[in-house]
Point group: C2
Chain length 113, copies 2
DNA sequence: CTGATACTTAAGTAAATGCTTAAGTGTAAT
DNA sequence: ATTACACTTAAGCATTTACTTAAGTATCAG
């Protein structure tokens, strides 16, 4: 019954956590290793790994491991997707406001022609 | 330690649920009563009320009650806020890609001058 | 006044989240 | 070979979420 946009579900839910947004914020400045990401965060490294897993499964972040260090970076596609979803709804709402305005303009004015 | 953006937390978390996105989707087309919103949804009315409460506390939706019917509508401000947050991070990432490209262009080319 | 409508509140439950500490597994440096 | 480093997995736990049903509380219509 509900449209099935599991990818948006995961992306928005991932962004709904301050730790994960902090990670995205850091990655927006450029790729980083897991330890780099964990260092400023007030939690254990395994906890950061879990957040990274969420971000990666949501498609917002990707990572590759070379040697013993895993480097993470943003995947902008899902960011765009989420951004677009919000933008389209906002625009739909604004068009409705405009239509309502036009309707009121068309019906109310008594001093017409 | 983490930047405190409780409003974004709530907005993104609200959008991270398919039922709530369906409600926003419906409201983008125009205001609706609680029952209107609940009718197509595969759950009880109290459950829908809880989702509405989340949407309202996140600032994405507002509502007024007149008589016995509560009419809900989108508040576009928080939609814009969330959209902007994503957009800024995406752009930051893209600027970084450009800088990297420029750096590579500036250092690698052997056939210069 | 009586019943139907449109929400609202309360109480309870199963599952998902966000951590923790402890114990691994490979890779790199000495 | 030995040690340190950078993750990774596992097990466990407290809290929050997403519902449910049942029992209200105001309107409004007849």
């Amino acid at each position: 019954m509900l449209k099935c946009n599991a990818d948006l579900d995961m992306a928005f839910q991932a962004l709904g956590d301050p730790t994960r947004r902090a990670i995205v914020e850091r990655l927006a400045a450029g790729p980083a290793s897991v330890s780099d990401l964990a260092r400023p965060l007030p939690m254990s490294l395994p906890a950061v790994m879990l957040h990274l897993k969420v971000l990666e499964e949501s498609g917002l972040v990707r990572s590759e491991k070379v040697g013993r260090v895993r480097t993470c970076h943003i995947d902008p596609k899902m960011l765009s997707h989420a951004e677009r979803w919000i933008g389209e709804r906002r625009e739909m709402w604004e068009r409705n406001l405009d239509r309502l305005g036009a309707y009121l303009d068309a019906t109310k004015p008594e001093k017409e022609e």
